[in-house]
Amino acid sequence: MTENTKESLNKKILEETERWINTTVAQSLKKVPERKRNFKTLSNIPVKALYTPVDIGNLDYFDDLGFPGEYPYLRGAQATSYRARFWTMRQFAGLGTAKETNQRFKYLIQNGQTGLSVAFHLPTIYGYESGSPMSAGEIGKEGVAIDTLADMEVVFDGIDLSKISTSMTINAPASILLAMYIAVGEKKGVPMEKLTGTIQNDILKEYQAQKSYIFPPEPSMRLIVDTIEFCTNHVPKWNTISISGYHIREAGSTAVQELAFTLANGFAYVEAGMARGLNVDDFAPRLSFFFNAHNNFFEEIAKYRAARRIWARHMKEIYHAKDPRSWRLRFHTQTAGVSLTAQEPYNNIIRVTLQALAAVLGGTQSLHTNSFDEALALPSEEAVKIALRTQQIIAHESGAADVIDPLGGSYYVEWLTNQMEAEAEKYFEHIKKLGNGSMLQGAYVGIKNNFYQREIANASYQYQKEIETKELVQVSVNEFKIEEELDKKPEILKISEHVAEKQIQNLQKVKSERDNARAQECLQTLREKAKTNENLMPYILDAVKAYCSVGEIVDVFREVFGVYREDSIF
């Protein structure tokens, strides 16, 4: 089509659209008006009744869409997508003691799960020993209790680390848990060069949203770059950071904010790695992403597509990466915990299905589907099985995975993808300005002056108000409610308080049996090295092999790096 014929076609579509609105639509509206005055996405992007080729008139197929597995990756990270291999079905799990988590992992593997994902309990996440007063009430609750290498050995007992990839949701102490995983691998005869998996290791979003930080941002970033540098040289198949929008969204952000803050954090890590003197193409291919799958179906799909194109463009044009693997954004998705309701919890199975389908249509590389009982408690085995089955049904029965990027070319989805990219670019501009041209400095400044926290708090308050005024309907919460007594609740999982006792005993036993002089020596070396600029990974590895606890190692870092406190705004 020549430019001229395209222009005249667009003109005709515009005229015809106007005619349609004034005649066919107008007549229909006289009989039944629209359900509401304004239609919008969860990111407050107004949406029209109908999209036509005019809305994506400026799109250039080759520059803006391209082909799967090729720049700008809008249509997919891999050339064959799910026609070769389905996404990795990776259910996040961890509960009670190491032994219980090991059993849950084996149960999931037996049921067809293809990757592991470890949830740690909060004391591990914050670097406290199970016996610390700070750990009271939390032991084994939100994840598995890991104090020392001995616990990690039990978690992976009987699981072949050369065959399965493992994702670990750990941030401030990520370097320590990675070291433990490497040590477990060594004991099993799997060298670190062969280990595959991911550590979350994304500290920026902790200050912005999830709040499991320990040290101030700068020393935290040093630990992250230490792991990147170490893995680049020794653990080449490891994903060194899972740059996470998930928690930003769960904290209440919009989809646009999730997209923008996550990618901006990604650029900050790239700048941090380059500032260490690393070549961008040596480490960028191992950066991976983690997004939320929330309720607004098409907006979520547009978000994933936009994320791929933004990353590709910035990595190529701004950071001058030359390796196509540095341009290609790969991501994990988890369905939105925040969207689950305690009322009529079985309805959550349907919410999760729609969210998971959005992730698949958006081209995710791996997926966690939430269990329907998670607004009530930690998930039961039965609920976890249904969640995994949801993925298997989408994969094997729906046909949704047979065509790559099946919504590509949809007037609405392409328009929305452009829209989200444009909105994200505005945020990048702002963050860059905060950092005087540096996305890394911009992230630090934005955290310290509460820019992210305020943006997220405002969005979450607006969301709550819309639910209370019923502008947003939550089925069985603010509409279609039934009597509380009729609301059948499932059997839920309880973590016994005995787990705490048992774990504290385990830790004491390990400490009494280890070579304590060696352990203290390792901690002392770590203390001295932490004060230098040397890469800490080898010394952390020595310390975990000497059965130093996560708490002991983090205490050394607390002493050297200090701790971070935030101003609490609401």
Partner: protein, 131 residues
């Protein structure tokens, strides 16, 4: 002018899920209460100290990690030991229904789960103040 009802919203324990606590703090402020938010990672002693210093009419505790059976009773016990018996204590978060009777026994007046309207909490506080 009548003194505003004064509230402390607190996050005990290590759990960083503060979306609910913040939304409630802001919603109650907009509903006419004076609200102090403690921020995250508060120990029971931190919270009791805040109550003694700020002298609120009600204390709203939020936990989503499952630590409530240990931390809520610990806080109410310490309040009592410090002679604080006229502050209304409320709980919120992911709290299984079967845990509620024990929490009430321990001095938590009411527990509000996911999906509660802010207005409902505001009404409850106004009707049940202990002073």
């Amino acid at each position: 002018m009548e003194r505003k009802i004064r509230l402390i919203v607190a996050k005990p324990g290590l759990d960083g899920h503060d979306r609910g606590a913040k939304v409630i703090a802001r919603g109650l402020r907009d509903a006419g209460f004076e609200v102090i938010y403690t921020g995250l990672h508060q120990t029971p002693d931190d919270i009791v100290q805040s109550v003694i210093q700020e002298d609120p009419d009600a204390l709203l505790l939020s936990i989503l990690s499952g630590a409530h059976p240990v931390l809520f009773p610990e806080i109410t016990k310490k309040l009592h030991e410090n002679g604080v018996d006229d502050v209304l204590v409320l709980g919120g978060g992911i709290i299984p229904e079967e845990d509620v009777p024990a929490l009430k026994e321990a001095g938590v007046s009411e527990v509000f789960g996911p999906g509660t309207k802010i207005q409902e909490i505001a009404d409850y506080i106004r009707a049940n103040l202990k002073r």
